[in-house]
């Protein structure tokens, strides 16, 4: 099937199998930040933005992206770096494999709610599993970023 979409700002036309997952499609198109961690839509590693909304690319068919704007971390480097440096300052990136999905969802959170409480952060990111950090350092990093924006 032929699909037309915008991937990280670039218009793409592609012929795809009807059962191709968006996750495999974006990886085939060089967006290697997008990771697979499970087959059951549990881990959040494959999170991408479709028209600005975070979705799981492991459970979205590539054909569903037809006519839409898809963004991966490759296309949002500067927006991510703004707060990612604070997470790096905590050492909370650890193995890094969950980072892209978690960072993408954090971008979506901060666009939607620029001044979230700790509970709102936890709730929004609940679908992003991490086995290394125990989550606390990631939260400290986001909190430090929010404080820095407020000049605290």
């Amino acid at each position: 099937m032929e699909i037309k979409l915008t991937l990280n700002g670039k218009k793409i036309t592609a012929d795809v199998a009807p059962d191709l997952l968006l996750l495999d499609f974006v990886r085939d198109h060089g967006c290697l930040s997008v990771k697979r961690g499970c087959e059951t839509a549990n881990c959040g590693l494959c999170t991408v933005l479709m028209d600005g909304t975070p979705i799981l690319s492991c459970s979205t068919l590539a054909v569903r992206a037809d006519g839409h704007h898809v963004q991966t971390l490759e296309g949002l480097q500067e927006e991510a770096e703004d707060f990612a440096i604070f997470i790096a300052d905590q050492g909370a990136e650890q193995c890094g494999f969950c980072n892209p999905g978690f960072v993408m969802n954090t971008i979506a959170l901060l666009r939607e709610n620029p001044d979230p409480t700790d509970e709102e952060i936890k709730a929004y990111l609940a679908g992003n599993l991490c086995r290394c950090s125990g989550y606390e350092g990631q939260l400290r990093g986001i909190r430090a970023y929010l404080n820095s924006r407020k000049g605290v």
């Binding site: 290697l32 494999f97 980072n99 709730a123 989550y135």
Partner: protein, 764 residues
């Protein structure tokens, strides 16, 4: 002079942090060829069977299939997948594919094809006729069961670990000190309890992944997500029955390990495909395969006998552990030892005698492996819960009972190979944890009046810092021609930050900036030999190798500098930025020395040093938990977890803290939600993240970690280890808190809401 310590004990960013956070392509599947053959295994649906016939002819006709292999095609020489120093304590009981399948998920055929679709279709078209055999699915009946998991004659145990395949026995030992029975008889209180822990999954986010290709020299080049490049080279050579020199193993960034990648779970299959076909190949485990054909924690059942006085003085501990290695032996003989050797010594202060015995048995269940804590986690759950039970039975405060009995600095530990505790702040950890947690206020049970109860629990833990007198760490340090350095290691940074930590140690030794050190690891062709990243050893062992290498490099730089200054090497010293004459009459800058090394130079500016330690100094930890238990639903919420850790000198306090926090949350998963259960046919029920529930952000309350420093004289800048000890306190601390809230001791993990709700105090 700029040689003062600047980077040790400093929470600097990991050198690769931003690359990881910004999603750069750094992992096995990102850095290898896209056109590699897809490799998958046909897996056994039976827990125990013999393959009567296997027909691959139709499957081979599927378009895009490059190769299909069965037990008839593989070398008939047994080996082990355990990443251990050779000769491995784990008996050699594997073939790449065997005619006998020993658990649900065991390999039956290897299929390699151009696309995943072709491979999946071929997998469905292989016809196998099995002679289904009775499986051994219960650890209690495994020993001397008429059904043998490994009846084969070519099974071999390389070391005297007490193994006997004709008894389903993988290891057996009894050690003791003092007369346990006599001391028990003299005690005012003795009691015995049995505890049971499950085969929890490491659940690292990156599943097992391996890529293989033939290199320009006709050698097998393996790129894999592994903690053990050198052991892996040997394992692959053994499995394929080819010389080790024909194999090169490299690891890119690793998406978590936790010990899982200390076993060669995925590598031998694509390696075999590439060796046979000459084509690049890749194997990516699904999460389901990780859950059902991985290498989880050893299930253990531990019986603890304690002899004590009514005032809480613990005089004797007698521990027997029955460990389930599953269908294969990986790490079976070694994990079990830690269940006693890393639990009993914490009570050295009071103990007059101990005994520790164990049996490790084969069953037709998923083969176990290495998982953070490596047996200590299981043993500490048993012994710490038993001590809490003792204290509660005697009406004593469990913290006071520990204060009375615990190990103190300077003591010799009979239950820990007679080692002396040269650096031990366990007492200070307990005092500090009590203070920041508010033990005195939180220990009494508080009914919240809304069906919820708040209560508290406590546990201590220890681990090691390497495998003593065995592990080898090495470092190659080199001065580059611009005055910066490279550091090459064979240890594997699996996210823990060892690349950065070792660079911090090197920076302080060379008097340079961490930014001036490029770290590279690990590759069996170019890295110096290292046992690998396991047994909490990298900072402690490889860190010392870095120190040694730096000392030698500095001496060589002085030789070159003295030559340039026209004096003797004894007359100069290295300042980090220059070599200067001690009398101040001249100096030559590091930049000039660096340049000089490229012109008519006969002195090495690349130095490799190795290090092994005769001892394995334990890190210590105390954890205290406050829970809120809902009496209506049985659910347990962790409100507050306070931990105080003695890891010697924390080289990077930020990374040490994250290790502790991550380990605690993994431990909470083990305590409350991560279960592994089998149906009557031997199938694992928790085969995805739907059923196998690892903690999410919402499952965590407040978490606070502090450090009580000690100084370990045999470690780099006084450091011990941190990686494993941190997973050991949650299970016993939470079981304690649940008892306080309900009056029930849950001696089998995990403590699920169902169990809390359904078990009444009188049934416990």
């Amino acid at each position: 002079m700029s040689m003062e310590k600047k980077f040790v004990n400093s929470g600097i960013r990991k050198k690769d942090a931003m690359q990881l956070l910004l999603g750069k392509p750094l992992y096995t599947c990102d850095v290898t060829r896209k056109d590699a053959l897809v490799v998958k295994l046909l897996r056994s649906p039976h827990a125990h069977a013999l393959i009567e016939s296997i027909d691959t002819s139709i499957a081979e006709k599927v378009e895009g299939i490059a190769a299909i292999y069965t037990y008839k095609d593989v070398p008939q020489k047994r080996f082990t997948l355990a990443g251990q120093t050779s000769p491995e304590p784990s008996p050699w009981d594997r073939l790449i594919l065997d005619r006998r399948v020993r658990y649900v998920g065991d390999g039956v055929a290897i299929v390699a094809g151009e696309t995943e679709k072709a491979v999946d279709m071929a997998l469905r078209r292989i016809k196998v006729k099995y002679q289904v055999l009775e499986p051994v699915l219960d650890i209690h009946s495994a020993l001397d069961n008429p059904v043998l998991v490994h009846p084969e004659e070519d099974w071999v145990s390389m070391l005297p670990v007490g193994a006997d395949n004709k008894r389903n026995l993988v290891a057996h030992e009894v050690t003791s000190d003092g007369d346990v029975e006599a001391v028990m008889k003299d005690c005012e209180v003795t009691f015995q309890r049995t505890y049971h822990t499950k085969s929890c999954q490491q659940a690292m986010m990156e599943t097992f992944r391996t890529y293989t290709e033939m290199d320009a020299y006709g050698r097998l080049h393996v790129v894999s997500s592994t903690q053990i490049v050198f052991h892996l080279r040997r394992i692959i050579a053994n499995a394929l029955d080819i010389p080790k020199s024909k194999v090169r193993v490299e690891k890119p960034r690793i998406g978590g390990g936790f010990g899982a990648k200390q076993t060669s779970v995925a590598e031998v299959y694509p390696a075999f495909v590439t060796w046979k076909t000459g084509r690049p190949a890749r194997m990516v485990f699904s999460r389901k395969e990780c859950q059902t054909s991985g290498c989880p924690r050893h299930e253990m059942e531990m019986t603890v006998r304690i002899g004590a006085m009514k005032n809480g003085h613990i005089r004797a501990i007698d521990l027997y552990t029955l460990s389930n290695t599953g269908a294969y032996s990986e790490h079976g003989p070694t994990t079990v030892g830690l269940s006693g050797h890393k639990s009993i010594p914490m009570y050295t202060g009071g103990l007059e005698a101990f005994r520790f015995g164990y049996d490790v048995v084969y069953t037709n269940m998923q083969a176990a492996g290495a998982y953070r804590g490596y047996g200590a986690t299981q043993g500490i759950f048993a012994v710490e819960t038993a001590v809490n039970e003792l204290a509660e039975q005697l009406g004593l405060d469990p913290v006071k009972v520990r204060e009375m009995n615990l190990l103190k600095e300077g003591m010799v530990m009979p239950a820990y190979y007679g080692e002396k505790a040269n650096a031990c702040a366990l007492d200070r950890c307990l005092a500090r944890a009590s203070e920041i947690f508010g033990w005195a206020e939180k220990y009494p049970v508080r009914d919240m009046g809304n069906g919820k109860v708040r209560s508290a629990g406590v546990a201590m833990a220890m681990q090691g810092s390497c495998i003593s007198a065995l592990d080898v760490g090495s470092a190659t340090v080199r001065l580059q021609e611009d005055g910066t350095y490279t550091l090459s290691i064979g240890a594997a940074d699996m996210g823990t930050g060892c690349d950065t930590i070792l660079a911090q140690i090197m920076a302080d030794n060379m008097g340079c900036d961490v930014e001036d050190i490029a770290v590279f690891g690990a590759d069996t062709d170019t890295s110096p030999y290292d046992s690998g990243s396991y047994a909490s050893s990298t900072t402690y062992v490889t860190g010392m190798a870095v120190e040694k290498a730096c000392t030698e490099l500095k001496a060589n730089l002085c030789v070159i500098g003295a030559e340039m200054l026209g004096c003797k090497a004894e007359e100069v010293e290295f300042t980090g930025e220059a070599v200067m004459k001690k009398d101040g009459s001249g100096e030559v800058s590091l930049a000039d020395i660096a340049n000089k090394t490229t012109i008519f130079n006969n002195t090495n500016v690349q130095v490799t040093a190795s290090h092994s330690s005769p001892v394995s100094p334990p890190p210590y930890m105390v954890g205290m938990v406050e829970i809120e238990l809902d009496k209506e639903t049985g659910s347990v919420e962790v409100l507050d977890y306070k931990a105080v850790v003695d890891c010697g000198t924390p080289i990077n306090p930020n990374l040490a803290r994250i290790q502790a926090e991550g380990g605690i949350v993994q431990g909470i998963g083990m305590a409350l939600s991560e279960d592994v259960t089998y149906d009557e046919k031997g199938r694992i029920m928790e085969n995805s993240f739907f059923q196998y529930k690892i903690p999410t952000r919402l499952d965590m309350g407040r978490l606070q970690v502090e450090f009580e420093a000690s100084y370990e004289p045999t470690g780099p800048s006084g450091a011990k280890s941190i990686g494993e000890v941190v997973i050991n306190t949650p299970s016993p601390a939470i079981a304690h808190a649940v008892y306080r809230a309900t009056g029930v001791w849950h001696r089998t993990l995990p403590i699920t809401p169902e169990k809390v709700l359904m078990t009444k105090p009188e049934e416990a």
